[in-house]
């Protein structure tokens, strides 16, 4: 049973607090991805679980044991680093065997474990080679092999695929997922790439400026983002935001730009008069006829991607001070014939309006 | 704690054989010892005042300046010339490099013996041929000849070191710059003075400082072997005087004061070198 438990974990470097209270319970065998922009503290959090950074306050427990004061070695964890951190003067075999050698394992058992891991990662033929003779992808496998042979309670991944080219990254992340499934080891995985996060995670921890804004399954995070930040971070192209206000009787959403959205049957009386931000994902918009349209998009640019067509522009209509909402995108079918500089009438799919309080930036409802 | 343990050997050796003697040098420079070494009298900056007014010391300063200038110019000039030529070769520069670098391994003292042998007044080959040609060579009596000999012996050993660095500096200059100049119509010497030499200036400056430090200190062996500072102190450079006043003349206070002065000189030179190297890194 390898659970991880973080209770009110905080970390400060001198005066600056970088981790501002993280609480999460990770179950045995879960692959948890910590995702967020650069500087949000995700790597720091991972390193605190690893034991490479100290904890300023709060508790970290692995398998029910408080590990705050334990050295990495004592926590029975293994780590895969961003730059692989392979020992340059040792062969692949020795790189993988090093931790086991230190632990005093008999040679035969070490050889067996290394062989098994090498087979799993398809690097058997590289066992006698030196790291400098390997490509980036191969080195990454060796780094993972080094972690696997330890048979630890927890795997920790620190942006392991960031240094690989795009195609390799796609291939490797599937392998990582399969590997973790077959080994069943609890894993913490850090990345800034939200696609990677979505594909790999059993649950996501979306971090921003030292705080976990949402901890949930990928689909939940996608469908019910807890804050404007999460909504904008997950999903590509990112969600469109329209500032609006809820009418006093709770039945109308009036956009700051002047238009009204969806007047029928909204039970928003409890939020009457509130200033909100409406979020609509580009993929939840479809082209329609002007009489059935919720919004009209003034097209500025079109990207034909083959499978999809991305239309960028601004929402027509002007607010009292003449502001237009720019940077609005819609994702339409690949074969949609769009002409630039036109006005495109758009309809929002049902249940695709995300409402966020403009002050707290927290989620109110989806309608 | 482990780190302190690891530091201990270094700290111990450095404290005992570096800082303590360095401090002692400063301390002793403020005293005059009586001839029997029994009593010492505090004289503050008296030793320093004496030295600054002492004609012998001033002469030594002058001698050192002349000596180091000659050595630096001679060894750097010849090395630069060789480096420029070696650089012109496509093949074979490696062989010449091997041939020209190993004199670095010859100790200055041994260099002194080699050149002494060639110019020895009784058996030296070169001095004999000079005599045959009508020139009576005698560096034991003639101060200029003595200076000349130690300069040659000191420069000779230094050629390799300078050659290596000059060659590396030259090879670092991109071909494209040279070719552009050639297309612009500059012939070899013009190219050299207007492009190559300026681009070589970091190396040149660096070698300048290093060679001066070498001439100040590491040439002790040459002087002691060939002239022992003579004739009549004509080749007594500053570091030699520290030795002869301290060990031969047993004037500890004066020797210590001279050490302190040299300390300051080296300090300044090293600071200059370091400042410049730092800038070179950003170059």
């Amino acid at each position: 049973m390898s659970t991880i438990s973080l209770k009110s974990v905080r970390k400060s470097f001198g005066e600056t607090e970088v981790i501002r209270g993280i609480d999460v319970e990770i179950a045995d065998g879960e692959l948890i991805v910590i995702v967020g922009p650069s500087g949000c503290g995700k790597s720091t959090l991972l390193r605190m679980v690893a034991g490479l950074e100290t904890v300023s306050s709060g508790d970290i427990a692995i398998d029910g044991n408080r590990v705050n004061d334990m050295e990495p070695m004592e926590r029975n964890i293994a780590m895969v680093f961003q730059n692989y951190a392979l020992y340059p003067h040792m062969s692949v075999f020795n790189n993988m065997a090093y931790g086991l050698k230190i632990a005093g394992m008999p040679k035969a058992e070490i050889a067996e474990r290394v062989q098994t891991a090498a087979k799993m990662l398809q690097i058997e033929e590289y066992l006698t080679r030196m790291p400098r003779q390997l490509s980036g992808g191969q080195r990454q496998r060796v780094a993972m092999g080094r972690a696997i042979v330890r048979e630890p309670s927890v795997f920790l991944f620190d942006e392991p695929l960031s240094n690989l080219d795009a195609k390799l990254r796609v291939q490797m992340r599937l392998e990582v997922k399969q590997l973790q499934r077959s080994l069943g080891t609890t894993s913490l995985y850090v990345t800034h790439d939200q696609v990677e996060a979505m594909t790999l995670a059993d649950r996501l921890i979306v971090m921003n400026a030292g705080v976990a804004e949402q901890i949930d399954t990928p689909m939940h995070v996608y469908e019910h983002p807890a804050s404007i930040f999460v909504a904008g971070f997950i999903g590509s192209p990112s969600m469109n935001f329209l500032p609006a206000k809820i009418s006093t009787d709770g039945s109308t959403l009036s956009l700051d730009s002047g238009a009204n959205l969806r007047a029928e049957g909204l039970a928003l009386a409890t939020h009457s008069g509130r200033e909100i931000m409406i979020g609509i994902r580009p993929e939840h918009l479809e082209a329609t006829s002007p009489d059935r349209a919720d919004l009209t998009l003034q097209i500025a640019a079109v990207e034909t991607l083959g499978a999809d067509t991305l239309v960028h522009g601004s929402i027509a209509g002007t607010a009292p001070d003449g502001a237009q909402i720019t940077g609005f995108a819609a994702r339409l079918a690949g074969n949609a014939r769009i002409i630039e500089d036109e006005a495109l009438p758009l309809r929002v799919a049902d249940g695709a309006l995300h409402l966020f309080d403009r002050q707290s930036e927290k989620r109110i409802a989806e309608i | 704690m482990l780190p302190l343990l690891l530091l201990t050997p270094q700290v111990l050796v450095t404290a005992l054989f570096f800082f303590w003697p360095a401090w002692q040098a400063v301390y002793q420079s403020l005293f005059i010892q009586d001839p029997f070494g029994l009593k010492s009298q505090f004289v503050g900056l008296g030793n320093f005042e004496f030295l600054l007014g002492d004609p012998y010391y001033r002469a030594s300063f002058r001698t050192t300046a002349i000596f180091s200038s000659f050595v630096t110019v001679a060894s750097m000039g010849f090395a630069l010339w060789l480096a420029v030529m070696a650089d012109r070769l496509i093949k074979g520069s490696g062989a010449y490099r091997t041939l020209l670098i190993w004199p670095y391994a010859v100790a200055p003292a041994v260099a002194g013996v080699l050149w002494l042998f060639m110019f020895n007044t009784r058996v030296g080959v070169i001095s004999w041929y000079l005599e045959q040609a009508g020139y009576d060579w005698n560096h034991v009596l003639n101060p200029n000849e003595a200076m000349g000999l130690v300069v040659i012996a000191s420069s000779w050993g230094r050629i390799s070191y300078n050659f290596l660095f000059f060659l590396a500096g030259l090879q670092a200059i991109p071909n494209s710059v040279i070719e552009a100049a050639a297309i612009d119509g500059a012939h070899f010497w013009k190219r050299f003075w207007t492009i190559v030499f300026p681009l070589l200036s970091p190396t040149t400056f660096f070698l300048l400082v290093v060679n001066v430090v070498y001439a100040f200190f590491e040439t002790f062996g040459v002087i002691h072997t060939i002239t022992t500072g003579g004739p009549q102190q004509a080749t007594t450079i500053l570091v030699y005087k520290v030795y002869s006043d301290g060990f031969v003349g047993q004037d500890l206070g004066s020797s210590a004061a001279q050490s302190v002065i040299l300390l300051v000189v080296v300090g300044i030179l090293t600071i200059i070198q370091f400042r410049y190297i730092e800038r070179r890194v950003h170059y």
Binding site: - | W81, Y96, F188, F247
Partner: protein, 281 residues
């Protein structure tokens, strides 16, 4: 190649001629010394001495090695070897340990230690000879190997060098080792040391030559001819007064004095050049 643009024939030959001249100038004194070491004393005393090697190579060298003039040269070679090895190895060992301590640990006064070490870069032994001699004498180190070696490893140039190198080793490597369960000393021996191999070798070459060629300090600290090192001992083979020096033996000694450092430079040329450039950076 800063000059290699025009490829006309005369330029090519002139260049080679110039370089060959340079090589001759550099080699001539050594060649002459070699010749002198293979002929007899009378041939030298009656100038001009022959310019081609004689036939007394073995006699002269044997005489030098076995009896020398004031001490057998074999003994002096031994002393020099002990001193040079002691300096090279001693300096490398103490400095790699202290560089490791300074780079990989956090402890009070860490910066102070670094600056202290930095200060020692500046002063060659020649500047502190008298008091260093007194300290050595007080410790009873006159005429001893430690006396020859210790004062010459006191400056921390090598520490500085290793520090610069260690700073280029990525932190991740140390962390991976820590996660693998390696303690600091284990990390040092299993990982840092092997990675430093070339630096150590290059430094060894430079330090060996530096140690071997020491003159002033061995001169001061040895009064017993049996403790002479070969480089400083040559001068003492010259007679005082009006006697004629035993030139063949002296020149043979000079050749022997040059041999080990030159061999090191030639056979380890690459490492030597690397070491030279690293130490001066």
């Amino acid at each position: 190649m800063s000059g290699m643009v025009e490829k006309r024939g005369s330029g090519y030959w002139l260049t080679h001629a110039g370089l060959i001249l340079g090589v001759l100038v550099v080699f001539f004194p050594i060649y002459l010394a070699f010749v002198a070491s293979t002929v007899t004393q009378p041939e030298i005393v009656r100038p001009p001495m022959p310019l081609i090697p004689g036939r007394h190579f073995f006699e002269n060298y044997r005489e030098a090695l076995v009896s020398g003039i004031n001490a057998p040269v074999a003994r002096m070679l031994f002393n020099s070897t002990v001193m040079a090895l002691g300096i090279a190895l001693g300096k490398i060992i103490i400095s790699i340990l202290s560089a490791f301590a300074i780079v990989y640990f956090r402890f009070p006064f860490r910066q102070t230690f670094f600056w202290l070490i930095f200060l020692t870069l500046m002063l060659p032994v020649e500047v502190r000879i008298v008091p260093t001699y007194q300290v050595a004498a007080n410790f009873g180190l006159l005429n001893s190997y430690p006396g020859l070696i210790l004062p010459l490893i006191a400056s921390a140039t090598a520490t500085f060098l290793f520090r610069q190198f260690f700073l280029t080793v990525p932190d991740e490597l140390a962390e991976a080792a820590r996660v693998d369960g390696a303690g600091p000393m284990r990390f040092f021996i299993d990982i840092l040391l092997p990675m430093s191999r070339t630096n150590i070798a290059a430094l060894f070459v430079i330090l060996f030559i530096y140690g071997w060629n020491q003159y002033l300090w061995p001169l001061l600290i040895t009064t017993d001819p049996q403790m002479n090192t070969i480089v400083m001992g040559i001068k003492q083979m010259f007679p005082s007064g009006d006697d004629i020096a035993n030139w063949p033996v002296i020149m043979a000694t000079a050749m022997l004095a040059m041999l080990p450092p030159v061999a090191v430079v030639i056979f380890m040329q690459k490492l030597f050049i690397k070491g030279l450039i690293e130490t001066e950076k």
